[in-house]
Symmetry: C2
Amino acid sequence: MAKDIKISLLLDFYGSMLTEKQRRIVEYYYNDDLSLSEIAENEGITRQGVRDFVKRAEGQLLEMERKLGLARKFREMMDGFQKIEEAADRIREYNRHYIYAREIDESAKQILEITQKLCE
Amino acid sequence: MAKDIKISLLLDFYGSMLTEKQRRIVEYYYNDDLSLSEIAENEGITRQGVRDFVKRAEGQLLEMERKLGLARKFREMMDGFQKIEEAADRIREYNRHYIYAREIDESAKQILEITQKLCE
């Protein structure tokens, strides 16, 4: 498990495997940046109770990523799409300035449409 | 949950979330195409026991895909990479025959390298 994969990313990814209450609490904590005390007040449980919820959920998310590794794989793909987009832009740009080949422009445009659709 | 997503695909994807024994039995059944009786003999349990293992594991795999939808998303990405590759091949081909622009060939080659690396 890479240290640079953040809990909030794992939460986007695997959050639907948590219970509704776990997910709500962890989202308050990681996405909305509420304090343990604020969450405790919202949920009507103790501050320590909130801490336990968060720790347990973190453990589950990290364990899922350790076993499945899908968040890392997805991020690699997103980085790949980004680089593909840049290369397709360079092709279009060069083609537009120096060549004007319709065939090349259309294929490069198709590449951009695919990456944009998949990265939505 | 789309009907066309097959159990063996889900097994590749989420198999590491099953217990070792579950996974072994389901792999015998789906990947190695052994019969329930053959698996029962290998594992020293009843044929009905094997059936229960398989049914329960199927349920877990389908439930994970229902909640996470990652197998479908990955497959869409793989299809996307395939189409990107075809478009990059067309660009190189056209460029090689009619234009000979080094800039275009290099960018198209980069696209192909990225898709090949990510689809390994």
